[in-house]
Symmetry: C2
């Protein structure tokens, strides 16, 4: 991709009214744009990151045996009355009457809709278990939106739902999702703290939160500085308490953000909505459910919080919007340097890499600062002096030093270090 | 993918209250499911088709120089007041007041939002032209939803917007999109009739509709039966009139559905929203806009309308949910036939094909009927009698005859005919 033909509106200024580093950098690097408080557009670079995150989630969910579908945002309120959540979630739920006089709402989550769908198609124990998921836009009328895409009124979630014959099946599915979540966050270069948590409005007994420590968090966790033991502050552990697995250490309180939450729902929804199946003996039983969420939009913010420096974002390899950025610094008068950039572009693309060429007529300083800001993992800088000596510079965004490489040795070097 | 582990709820029954073939088949083949009138879920098979259609659109839009982003569905109504379309589109627009007392609406289209975004980032003629697009969910409060996903309250659209310095630039971009649309529909095996049309609520002067003749249509076109000349009935041409390019022929009226619509908007939005740029002489000018829509959801219905027979759907190759379906008919007692199915599955996947294995414990009749119903282009049937003679059957969904092939000759045959 050539920068001049793309749309990456970068900015040096720290946007007014932003506190969090991730909020500032996601605006400055041209990832997102605020339409109105709590509502964001994904600009091309941000959309690329979003899609890479979605692809990781998809791969791990499919590998764990879940099947993707896509549920609607418009729901009949009637369905929510079956579980009483038209009332318990009323504060955040956008409700309206449509032209036909139907009471409708925008889905803040999808337990009711998926339970209704599954009960229409599944009658027998032979058809169970089944785990369905979607990556889809949710709407919540938040009074206090925060930190840009961290807490917004419109945001993207991955939500999965499992349906089993019995508790044993649920526990198996739950364990599989637990493992899938660990894989997902590891691939995104996020060290998660997993905490047994309160099930809140979702219902059910057992649930686990997948948290990342970051100042954009709204929860507190206690972590043992030496053995890594962790817990929720609202739970059994408290700051200053002792750590069970290494008695001498005192627990430290840290702010953390919830990125994922999985729940053993049990029969809350299947009883209320009569989602039943016939067992081997012809007896009707309620399906045993689990649900599994990841806040896809806020994952972007969390990654930026954990991977940045004073100059900008440092994208982990698997979620970077491009793999390599080529920065020719010859200006207009150097056709040879631009031609070299184009040659590298084609050679790297032939290797299956996603490549951005900063072909803009901008100053050397602006180009290098923007490269640091948008944080592509690998950079090839074609500078005048080096070029005269038949050399170019290769720099990893997360390294302080760069490598000086012969012009014709670039592909070999990239293959070696990428 | 193994059918038993997937979620394809097929049905023999014609659903109550459905008239259109595409509506019936999309429900019976387990592509979509109605949550409430005008609101549909995409089941796994339908989502696969949707994604293949989206990928074709993406490829052609990117090749035409457009850049993808993602705009929100929640809009401040204030923005729509700038163009007066809070009133002109009021009937279909879902409006509500949020918890903070803001007047909000759900986007039925995105001219206002994209114009607002672009004007914030583009100041100079140097930054033009730019064409941005998204594939995103739209909301319209339709009183008369029709034919399932054809006219729904929530649906997926590709909408693109071009911004140019002058009319000449717009005309170039418009021609590029016109060509991209021809490519897109051709790849989807849809013969489109292109008609110069009324711009309606969008504004601007010149616009073209991309129509496909089908009984689910809501428009009428006249077509010359011999030379292919066509026109809109509301326009200059009428049934019974003569065809300009072959004088002897009389024009025939046909019902058609609009799948795409492109508009030369001009300055309607840029004037109302003050989206201006500085030209070479430092003078402010309104940007010259175009917009380009495709109804992604309804494209699925149109493809089914054009590609089906009495037994079910006949997916064109480029949009099929799977490339090959393997149907072992040995039942439980034939481990060898199931093992062969598994071998083909792996070999075909290694060739990069998407493969579905019908491993269900269902009758021969049910499996073959379902295969016809869901319409995968290529089918390998492993039947008992043929298997005993070291043979399997290969059948194209759109052919009446099948081929009998030696068990070990299947891969070569598939490579030849696929």
């Amino acid at each position: 991709m050539y920068w001049s033909k793309y749309f990456i509106p970068t900015s040096k200024e720290i946007p007014i009214g932003t506190e969090a580093v991730s909020h500032q950098l996601s605006l400055r690097a041209g990832l997102v744009h605020m339409l109105t408080s709590g509502v964001y557009s994904y600009l091309p670079l941000g959309l690329r990151v979003l899609k890479r995150i979605e692809d990781i989630i998809r791969e791990e969910m499919n590998a764990a045996g879940a099947t993707e579908l896509l549920l609607p945002s418009l729901h009949p309120l009637e369905l929510w009355k079956q579980t009483g959540r038209d009332q318990t979630l009323k504060e955040v739920m956008i409700q309206f009457k449509d032209n036909r006089g139907r009471d409708m709402c925008l889905g803040p989550t999808h337990e009711e809709v998926i339970t209704d769908l599954v009960k229409g198609f599944i009658q027998s124990y032979r058809q169970l278990p089944v785990t369905l998921y979607q990556i889809q836009t949710k709407f919540r009328d938040e009074m206090r939106t925060r930190f840009g895409i961290v807490r917004a009124c419109e945001f993207i979630m991955k939500d999965a739902y499992s349906f089993d014959r019995d508790e044993e099946g649920l526990k198996k599915n739950y364990a599989r999702m637990y493992q899938a979540y660990q894989n997902i966050f590891k691939r995104m270069a996020l060290d998660v703290i997993i905490i047994e948590a309160d099930s809140g409005a979702m219902g059910g007994k057992i649930s686990h939160e997948f948290m990342v420590t970051a100042p954009i968090g709204e929860d507190a966790v206690v972590v043992c500085p030496s053995c890594g033991f962790s817990g929720g502050v609202s739970g059994a552990q408290d700051e200053g308490g002792s750590c069970p697995s290494c008695k001498n250490e005192k627990l430290k309180k840290q702010v953390a953000i919830e990125l994922g939450h999985i729940f053993q729902l049990g029969t809350k929804y299947s009883l209320a909505q009569q989602a039943q199946y016939l067992d081997e003996n012809g007896k009707l039983n309620p399906m045993i459910m689990g649900c599994y969420g990841i806040g896809v939009s806020r994952v972007i913010a969390a990654i930026i919080e954990k991977h940045n420096d004073a100059k900008g974002i440092i994208w982990p390899k698997e979620v970077a919007p491009f793999d390599v950025e080529i920065v020719p610094l010859g200006g207009d008068d150097s056709g040879a340097m631009n031609a070299l950039a184009q040659r590298y572009y084609q050679e790297l693309q032939a290797q299956g890499l996603e490549v951005l060429v900063d072909d803009r007529e901008e100053s050397v300083g602006r180009k290098l600062n923007d490269a640091d800001l948008i944080g592509i993992p690998l950079r090839i800088v074609i500078g005048k002096r080096n070029f005269a000596e038949h050399k170019v510079e290769i720099k990893k965004r997360n390294a302080s030093e760069s490598l000086l490489v012969d012009i014709d040795g670039v592909m070999a070097k990239i293959a070696e270090i990428k």
